[in-house]
């Protein structure tokens, strides 16, 4: 009878069904193994955690030395009126745990400063650290420890109507970047031997009407391309004009009925439609070229990650078996065809992809051995995934906060470039930096006390000026920014926190699942204008 079913897994599958469709079982497994640390259970902080606990991270830890205050309860869904005076870490942890029984969580009732002082090693045990409402000095200390330890750090903040997010990760490698506009990997400009042989075995002229109209368009493209090449010195159509005449050539292949009227042949329509994309020359994308030329790839050591070992194997493959090409992806698009010929065609591509993958695998094994590692250190399915996605590999390297904050290495050019646009969100970056400077001088944020707004705005203005000076920038386009920021009084607006919680959690999921490309490196959201932008700072 039927194999016994693991009840818990069935439940999980049902619960996570809608998201498994986005990142798959392997992405979910990584998520379920992730240990997430949140520093400070602010509204933004708990909103981020909520969005990570629901899809099922492994565990979370909240580090927060604060007690719950009245104003916390007003904007934080995970703190209650009766919890005022209790540990914020403790209360938020308890309420957040109710969201998902498969997630474990614990509270550390210590300030981040204490942790940094007494036990900085503790922070290195997490998959990623998320920080909200941390003073600048502590943030810089924390980030340099994590940066050195290669632990990703996400800084997130809701300040009045402004949202801010900064990713700090030394290096993040992505195999499944999942671009949504990828072309098919058909290699019509360098046809597979199998395709050539197969296409020659088919004679369009001799086919019955049914066979003719169900010949896969890939075969049609190949055959007419051969014809075209004969007429054009072996060249394939390259520009718009040539592609247009190539389409006409294809159109001439449509059979006509006894009255000379062209038959309705969908496969030809598909072939004509595919001309624009299917004839793109097969080449190595510049990002991938950059990866195989990267020193991390060319100078492997026993410390090198699987990604770079596989990248080295890929480089060798391209130079040898691949004849300058990436391993074949092996999938063909759906097309009007009879099953028999579609499957034959599919098998040709699958088989080549398999052969390529075997070649890469044996190179991976050689490299592993030469590095003194067991040749099965990297699993076959991982190599297969790597080959299949070899055109989409990505590496993200974010600058450190130290680099960003010290005037010598600040991204002045990026900032001044954006200064040219008077509506740029970059001004809010300057304002937030100024608010932090204000805080470091006066130990409160501008506008916190209603009766000091006017004097605060004068002080804030001087903070803005000194930041602008540090970055050798001109003045702000309008004074309004200063008044506006004072008005915010550093308060967290729940709907901004909710927005940032969604965006930030999504970035965490990208990092944890190693899928999709995270932002690099600063994101600003303006709730007044509902606009947002990214900057590399």
């Amino acid at each position: 009878m039927a194999a016994p079913v693991n009840r818990k897994n069935v439940d999980k599958k049902a619960k996570y069904d809608r998201q498994l469709r986005l990142w798959g079982d392997h992405g979910q497994a990584l998520l379920e193994n992730a240990k997430i640390c949140l520093i400070n259970a602010s509204a933004t902080g708990t909103e981020i955690l909520k969005n990570l606990i629901l899809p099922g991270i492994g565990s979370f830890t909240i580090i927060d030395g604060n007690k719950v205050k009245g104003e916390d309860v007003g904007n934080n869904f995970f703190l209650t009126q009766d919890s005022i005076g209790k540990s914020r870490a403790q209360v938020a942890t308890e309420l957040l745990l109710e969201l998902n029984n498969d997630v474990t969580g614990n509270a550390v009732e210590e300030s981040p400063e204490q942790i940094l002082e007494n036990n900085p090693e503790y922070l290195k045990s997490f998959t990623i650290v998320i920080v909200t409402s941390l003073v600048e000095r502590t943030l810089l200390d924390l980030s340099s420890i994590l940066y050195a330890a290669d632990i990703p750090l996400l800084v997130c903040r809701s300040y009045g109507m402004i949202g801010y997010m900064r990713l700090v990760v030394k290096e993040h490698t992505v195999i499944e970047s999942q671009p949504d506009n990828a072309h098919e990997d058909l290699r019509l400009d360098k046809p597979l031997a199998g395709l050539v042989e197969y296409a020659h075995s088919l004679d369009l002229e001799a086919m019955t009407k049914q066979e003719h109209m169900h010949t896969p368009y890939l075969v049609l493209l190949y055959k007419f391309l051969e014809k075209w090449k004969e007429m054009h010195n072996g060249q394939v159509p390259k520009n718009y004009k040539e592609k247009t005449s190539f389409k006409d050539l294809l159109r001439s292949g449509i059979r006509k009925n006894e009255h000379g009227v062209p038959e309705d042949e969908e496969n030809f329509d598909e072939a004509i439609m595919a001309v624009n994309t299917a004839l793109n020359p097969s080449k190595i994308p510049s990002e991938v070229q950059g990866i195989i030329d990267d020193p991390a790839c060319t100078n492997l050591s026993s410390e090198s990650s699987s990604f770079w070992i596989m990248a080295q194997a890929l480089k060798q493959f391209i130079a040898n078996e691949g004849n300058g090409m990436l391993p074949l992806r092996g999938a063909i698009p759906d097309m009007t065809a009879d099953s028999k010929r579609y499957i034959q065609l599919q098998n040709i591509y699958k088989e080549q992809a398999r052969t390529d993958c075997i070649a890469v695998t044996s190179r991976v094994q050689q490299i592993l051995t030469s590095l003194g590692k067991a040749s099965d250190t990297i699993q076959d399915n991982e190599i297969k995934l790597f080959c299949k996605n070899s055109a989409f590999l990505r590496v993200i390297r974010c600058r450190s906060l130290t680099q960003e904050y010290s005037p010598d290495s600040a991204a002045t050019q990026e900032i001044s470039m954006n200064f040219e646009n008077p509506d740029s969100e970059i001004y809010w970056y300057i304002m937030l930096r100024a608010a932090d400077k204000f805080y470091s001088q006066y130990s409160y944020f501008p506008g916190t006390y209603d009766d000091q707004v006017d004097s605060d705005s004068v002080k804030l203005k001087s903070c803005v000026c000194s930041i602008l000076q540090e970055l050798t920038l001109g003045a702000l386009p309008k004074e309004d920014y200063i008044q506006e920021l004072c008005r915010y009084g550093a308060c967290e607006l729940h709907s901004v926190a909710s927005f940032m919680g969604g965006v930030a959690a999504q970035e965490v999921i990208k990092i944890v699942t190693n899928q999709f490309v995270p932002f690099n490196n600063t994101y600003l959201y303006n709730a007044m204008t509902t606009t947002s932008a990214t900057f590399q700072l």
Binding site: A2, V5, A14, K15, R18, Q19, L22, G24, A43, K50, N51, L54, P55, G74, F77, F78, T80, Q81, L95, E98, L99, N100, N101, M161, Q178, D180, N181, Q210, E211, H214, D334, D338, S339, R341, D423, R487, Y488, C491, E492, L493, H494, S495, V496, S498, F499, G501, G502, V503, A505, Q506, E507, F516, V517, F519, Y523, A527, T530, T531, S532, T534
Partner: protein, 631 residues
């Protein structure tokens, strides 16, 4: 409460927030987030309505619900959970459909603001009309996977939800699938559910037996009918055990399965007679008396194009038997199966089952090839997108309350970077489409039908309810005599149902006046006689204006197509300033796609990427992209 808001919002707006009464329609993905945001922004008086109950697959994002709540009312549990976190707010929960006639225009008038958090087109259309009728501002929203959208609708100021045509919807209510399929895709979805019930992971949401809780059947069909029937079945007690256990107990005997699924269950459906008052009743298929083999013109001896040929019923039954045996073996060897369109037995099974069911319900059968492409696209759904969208809804709501409707925007959440690295694309709200068949002052549409074959019932179900979104229409022929064609009062015009339009002297250029009193909505239908339609359609709603009278019916479709496009371009020229307007496609949580041309807010143009979103949101399985903020 929400002290922080007071500092940031002008005092009078903050006052409005705490004094106003708002309606949240839907307590699902967006609804949960929205309810939380409302409470924490200082809203004090909230009514939330949802007819749904909680399902396991909601728990990955609808955070007000927990495992223990599965099966309970969404609105009720959402209210209780939100109150537990913040007891000082007044929340009223209604476990009901917003389309229930109890929720009249007067009901809507008690609110300052209505916020939609819905998952289906029908309800969106309805709320749109109710808000127009009550002249209450509406914040409309939707999410799908990583995509989302928020917009504001205000009578006479902005476009309404129906100002631009929307493509047809792709998800279906459970009772449509289980009781009243009317399209091939309904049968395909049912077939996949059956597959999972028998061999896959059992999902209580994918029940394939008749749904006795169908609100339309109003439960009067009588359980007795079922009991009586199932006692006659030799397996006995079908209703008591799960479909899989029962199937296993028969050793997946294809004849027994067939008798239950396609005879007994259909008989039972027939006993729910309310369902068939205005619909063609299904015809149970008898295993021993299958329709004769159809001489097929497209069969060719090589069998080369077998995928594109439509199997006749006998062939479907053969395939059903064969694939059942294969799947039984696979299931015994490897446990739970996952439906895969590329697995031959799985695909055969779904094709055969879908077509047998289609036959029973008088729906066109489809080729295996077509079914493969139609089968299965569930729109993914995650917490993060809903959180983002709910945050944006509040921002728009605050702008409305502060009297700054002019600053409200339609905001699109992209899933990939735009050329300018923008995640959010805000667009100006468009002016109402003066030719909108809903919100213009004297709305009219042109309906192409063949009056000689199109029945009154088809007019009511397919055109007025399904396509034009009316709930309880009254229709009168504008013939000087005021002939009543359809009355919303039960039983009054039932005898007209099966008559054709021509029987009422309705012909080309006839005008029908349709009224929906609940929606406070009336519409003139201009009839355009047309004899030739594309596959699978028997009517077409085209441009707003009636086409000029033409003698040649055969060319009518071309003429109106031209008319349609020209009317569209006029309606757009009033709102679109530059030529570089983008085409945005955003899919709602309920798999609904809306295409509209929008004027971008900023001058910078992300034309390329916006267009990309159109391509990618169509039908991609499992390899969706994410909120990539930076390439």
């Amino acid at each position: 409460m929400a002290a922080s808001v007071r500092g940031i919002l002008p005092d009078d707006t903050a006052e409005m927030v705490s004094a106003c009464k708002v309606l949240v329609v839907g307590a699902g993905g967006i609804g949960c987030e929205l309810l939380k945001n409302l409470v924490l922004t200082g809203f004090n008086d909230i009514v939330v309505i949802d007819l749904d109950t909680i399902d396991v697959s909601n728990l990955n994002r609808q955070f007000l619900f927990q495992k223990k709540h599965v099966g309970q009312s969404k609105s009720q549990v959402a209210k209780e959970s939100a109150l537990r976190f913040n007891p000082n707010v007044k929340i009223e929960a209604k476990h009901d459909s917003i389309m229930n006639p109890d929720y009249s225009v007067d009901f809507f008038r008690q609110f300052t603001l209505v916020m939609n958090a819905l998952d289906n087109r029908a309800a969106r259309n309805h709320v749109n009309r109710m808000c127009l009728a009550a002249d209450i501002p509406l914040v409309e929203s939707g999410t799908a996977g990583y995509l989302g959208q928020v917009t504001v609708i205000k009578k006479s100021v902005t476009e309404c939800y129906e100002c631009q045509p929307k493509p047809t919807q792709k998800t279906f209510p459970g009772c449509t699938i289980r009781n009243t399929p009317s399209e091939p895709v309904h049968c395909i979805v049912w077939a996949k559910h059956l597959y999972n019930q028998l061999f896959g992971e059992e999902d209580p949401d994918q029940d394939v037996s008749p749904d006795t809780a169908d609100p339309e059947a109003a439960g009067d069909a009588g359980i007795a009918a079922l009991e009586g029937k199932s006692n006659n079945v030799d397996a006995g007690g079908i209703a008591r055990t799960s479909t899989r256990e029962w199937a296993a107990s028969t050793d997946y005997n294809s004849e027994k399965l067939f008798r239950k699924l396609f005879y007994d269950d259909i008989k039972y459906l027939l006993s729910m007679d309310k369902l068939w008052k205005k619909r063609a009743a299904p015809i149970p298929l008898n295993w021993d008396l299958l329709p004769p083999e159809e001489p097929s013109s497209t069969t060719n001896s090589n069998g080369d194009i077998k995928d594109q040929r439509i199997w006749d019923v006998r062939e479907c039954v053969e395939k059903f038997t064969d694939s059942l045996a294969k799947l039984k073996k696979q299931y015994r060897d490897q446990g739970d199966l996952v439906w895969d369109k590329d697995d031959s037995a799985s695909m055969d099974f779904v094709t055969a089952v879908a077509n047998i069911r289609a036959q029973i319900f008088g729906i066109a059968r489809k080729s295996r090839f077509k079914i493969k492409s139609m089968a299965g696209n569930i729109i993914p759904a995650i917490a993060t997108t809903n959180a983002v969208i709910a945050g944006l809804i509040i921002m728009e709501a605050l702008k409305i309350l502060s009297g700054h409707l002019d600053t409200c925007k339609t905001v699109y959440l992209n899933k990939h970077p735009t050329a300018r690295k923008k995640l959010l694309v805000p667009c100006f709200l468009d002016k109402p489409n003066p030719k909108c068949y809903v919100c213009s002052s004297k709305p009219e549409v042109t309906v192409q039908v063949n009056c000689a074959t199109f029945t009154v019932k088809m007019l009511e179900e397919k055109v007025l309810k399904a396509y034009l979104g009316m709930v309880a229409p009254d229709v009168e022929v504008d013939d000087g005599k005021g002939t009543i064609l359809i009355s919303s009062d039960e039983g009054e015009t039932e005898e007209n149902n099966d008559k054709c339009l021509a029987d009422f002297a309705i012909r080309h250029s006839s005008r029908l006046k349709a009224d929906d009193f609940l929606q406070n909505y009336s519409l003139i239908l201009n009839i355009d006689q047309c004899n030739i339609f594309d596959d699978d359609v028997d009517f077409k709603v085209v441009g707003e204006k009636p086409r000029p009278i033409s003698e040649t019916e055969a060319t009518s479709s071309k003429v109106t197509e031209k008319g349609e496009s020209s009317s569209q371009s006029t309606s757009q020229s009033s709102t679109v300033v530059d030529d570089e307007d983008d085409i945005m496609v955003v899919v709602d949580e309920g798999q609904e796609t809306s295409v509209s041309k929008k004027r971008k807010l900023s001058e910078d143009d992300d034309t390329k990427s916006a267009k990309k979103s159109k391509v990618t949101s169509q039908t991609r399985n499992g390899d969706d992209d994410t909120l990539i903020i930076d390439p």
